[in-house]
Amino acid sequence: MSRLLIILFGGLLMATVAMAKITPKITKLDNGLEVWVVERKVLPFAVFKLVIPAGSVFDPESKAGLAYLTSQMISEGAGNMTAVEISDKFEFMGADFGVDCNKDYVTVSLKVTKGYMDEALKLFATVVTEPTFPAKEFVRVKNEVVGEILKDQEDPGIVAAQEFDELVYGKEHPYHRPVKGYIDTVRSISLDEVKEFYKVHYLPEGSILVVVGDVDYEPLIKELNSLFKDWVGKAPSYPKVETPKFHPGKKVVPKDVVQANIVIGHIGVKRSNPDFIKLYVANQILGGGGLTSRLFEKIREEKGYSYSVYSMFLPTLYTGTFRIVLQTKNASADEAIKDVISEVKEFVEKGPTEKELEDAKRYLTGSFPLKIDTNEEIASYLAFAAFHKLGPDYLNRFTDMVNEVTLDDVKRVAKEYIHPDKFTIVVVRKVEK
């Protein structure tokens, strides 16, 4: 019991798990595609994630949604296969295939058991390099995207988040647009525009393939070289974008809901900002994960205003956002906003205590190995690290980087990057007429 008490209260033991090192082998295929491989033979399957620099930041303003629509079209016909045939083949192999598009990049994912791996990889390569963009499916997929946009409008949380991006970035920054675009702009996109977007952006040089699981490096690279040999070219680099300005203000979006959905914040930083990890630690104390942050304590544990409340710095290629997200019944909205802002002000002015910092570091370093204990999670983290050029040893360095953050660092970055007087506030709520 005595040792336990020490762990519970004294904290003499470090909470860091002696984590097995995860160091990918990195190479470039003959066509210039960068490949990261982690041989992890715990179970007979592997995860593949292909990151392509073709996110919605490349959309022309009047064609918002082009990148997303293109990403949704690549599996709608490829080689000599129809859309249904492609799905049918993947599913027959028990494989999970999917394409995701965010503001920065597209991820094409495959999860498959060892016995079907060669076959599934071949299909994966065909979808990525030989999509046929059938006109018939294009009309259907376009209508589906319009339907998805309508569905998103049912969700007050999504409405609030999108409105927040519109206000915080203003029209001049590409991040103001939702990834799926707007109904009008999506309707205006032609099949030729999708084909052209694919031709220009879906290229091996600049893309990265991450592989984690039951694979053998040498034969895998050989196979990949053969599968992707005809796929050549260099993806264009990201456009220059002016750093966004602050757009303080408040907007109420009327919606027939019982709960006000609130987003408070302003522009944040790029993931490449050298202060990012310091901000990550600072944010952990203010409103990060777990059930112990200051905002959680105040808004939920003291006031009972909200089920979920958190803050975050979005890790993006261009300047991201800092945002606080919560929901509370319409009647409590104003009080909750006041409490959030005063909590943030106090945090920025006085900073956290040494103990709070210590606890946050222990939580972040201790729980990190738990977040990367499956093929899927390791592949996701590595794809993110690879895109943001955080280095192949990022996962292994993470704990040290967090441990190096000092109280002065946290106080400084909180003051430098969080400005309650410049907050943009969006409230989606019922407005009595």
């Binding site: 007979p44 058991t113 259907r140 589906e144 899927e376």
Partner: protein, 442 residues
């Protein structure tokens, strides 16, 4: 759930081409303490981490009219302090030790967990044994936490038209059985539950002889047993734990539900057939059937409604056999703009009719089995999910070893089995179907 936190509850066993003859499964050691507490341990030394889970046989199944949501509310209060650890302290201790923690309540069970470095195991023992018996249930914390749970209901259900529809369909499908009400409870019930109700629920169901501990990770089973004995061994068993039996009377005709929502932009269809659960012997054929009908983009429903007819944004079906009582085999479709839900429902029936008539290919059958087998393998790649699949089975009174024969049993399912269960259960008279309709403002 204490925090937004979602996961797939689908775990299935294997033996497929992916396995090269190896049989993957779960190897566990188990022990039952004198006070009735069951402990199940899976040793896995691949990473120096452990998941510790306590499962209680209590959930919304064990509730009554007027007190719905009490199990979930109690789950929230389990984080609000004991004599030894004041409110909030539990979470702080876990966080400070680099742990992830949370809890979830379902119809059939409530579970609490910590995931962390394996040398933290003792802290789980200390904290979980303490809150099994020493919960404070402070009136002030209770009133505040009630508000939090009401906000949770607003977030998850009241402002989500699709959730409201699912809730209504279940309420119509089950009339006599407690699957009638949602796990989170009806809003007014949450508001009306008293601290005395909660105390009674706690004393009745939180006892070693109503719990299962599942530990998966870098531990030695014998040491875990010793520690559990040390920390939980002295907790007295409850004398009487009610395990009420409820039966849903047979349905004698289709039931239809309409939900109107001012914020719905598109119609949505959700339907369910009463079907048997685990132990019936029919769960394997039903699982294969549901995959053929609606799992994946090449399944019957998606292919017909989305690809061919273009009348839905997406469509599918699901079925979970691992429940205390027989549940529903469900299907859904997000109806496209300008399409009437009746048109989509007609197409769904056409697809069901085809299966009932025997129109299933061998390839479709094999595809369904491959999907189920691979999903099982993917699910094994995490201590947490393995512990969960064990916990669910044990909490509904089944043996975790069921997992190790599951895929074999799936492989044995024949085309005739699938057709038989389709004919038996996928009938109009056995269906409850609901439409979500956007409310047009006058």
């Amino acid at each position: 759930m204490r925090r937004l936190f979602s996961f797939l509850l689908l775990f299935f066993l294997l033996t497929s081409r992916g396995l090269e003859g190896k049989v993957l499964g779960i190897e566990a050691k188990e022990k039952v303490l004198k006070n009735g507490l069951k402990v199940i341990v899976v040793e896995d030394h691949s990473t120096p981490t452990v998941t510790f889970q306590v499962w209680y046989k209590v959930g919304s199944y064990y509730e009554t009219f007027g007190k719905t949501g009490i199990s979930h509310l109690l789950e929230h209060m389990m984080f609000e302090g004991t004599k030894k650890y004041p409110p909030g302290e539990f979470s702080k201790i876990v966080a400070r030790n680099g742990g992830q923690e949370n809890a979830f309540t379902s119809r059939d069970y409530t579970a609490y967990f910590e995931n962390w470095a394996s040398d933290r195991l003792k802290i789980s023992m200390e904290l979980e044994s303490d809150r099994m018996v020493n919960l404070l249930l402070d009136p002030k914390e209770f009133e505040r936490e009630k508000k939090v749970v009401m906000e949770e209901r607003r977030l998850r259900t009241e402002d989500d038209p699709t959730s409201l529809l699912v809730e209504e369909v279940y309420a119509a499908a089950f009339k006599a059985h407690p699957y009638h009400w949602p796990v989170i409870g009806w809003m007014k019930d949450i508001e009306n539950i008293t601290l005395e109700d909660l105390r009674h629920h706690y004393r009745t169901y939180y006892a070693p002889n109503n719990a299962i501990i599942v530990v998966v990770g870098d531990v030695k089973a014998e040491e875990v047993f010793k520690l559990v004995e040390e920390y939980f061994g002295s907790i007295p068993p409850a004398k009487h734990i009610p395990h009420p039996k409820y039966w849903e009377p047979p349905q004698r005709g289709e039931r239809r539900v309409i939900v109107k929502s001012p914020e719905a932009k598109l119609p949505f269809i959700f339907g369910g057939f009463h079907v048997p659960n685990i132990g019936s012997g029919e769960e394997y054929a039903l699982k294969v059937l549901v995959n053929i009908l609606g799992v994946g983009r090449s399944s019957r429903l998606y292919k017909r409604l989305v690809f061919e007819e273009k009348k839905a944004l997406y469509a599918g079906a699901y079925y979970s056999s691992k429940t205390l009582s027989p549940g529903l085999l469900c299907f859904y479709a997000a109806v496209q703009q300008g399409v009437k839900p009746e048109e989509v429902e007609k197409l769904i029936w056409e697809e069901i009719e085809k299966i009932r008539k025997g129109d299933i290919t061998e390839k479709e059958l094999e595809k369904a089995k491959n999907q189920i087998a691979s999903d099982f393998i993917y699910g094994l790649d995490s201590n947490f999910y393995r512990a969960m699949s064990i916990g669910i089975l044990e909490a509904i009174g089944k043996d975790w070893r069921y997992l190790n024969t599951y895929v074999d049993n799936i492989r044995k399912v024949t085309k005739e089995d699938v057709i038989r269960v389709a004919r038996k259960y996928l009938t109009r008279d056995n269906l409850t179907i609901g439409y979500l309709l956007p409310e047009v403002k006058q």
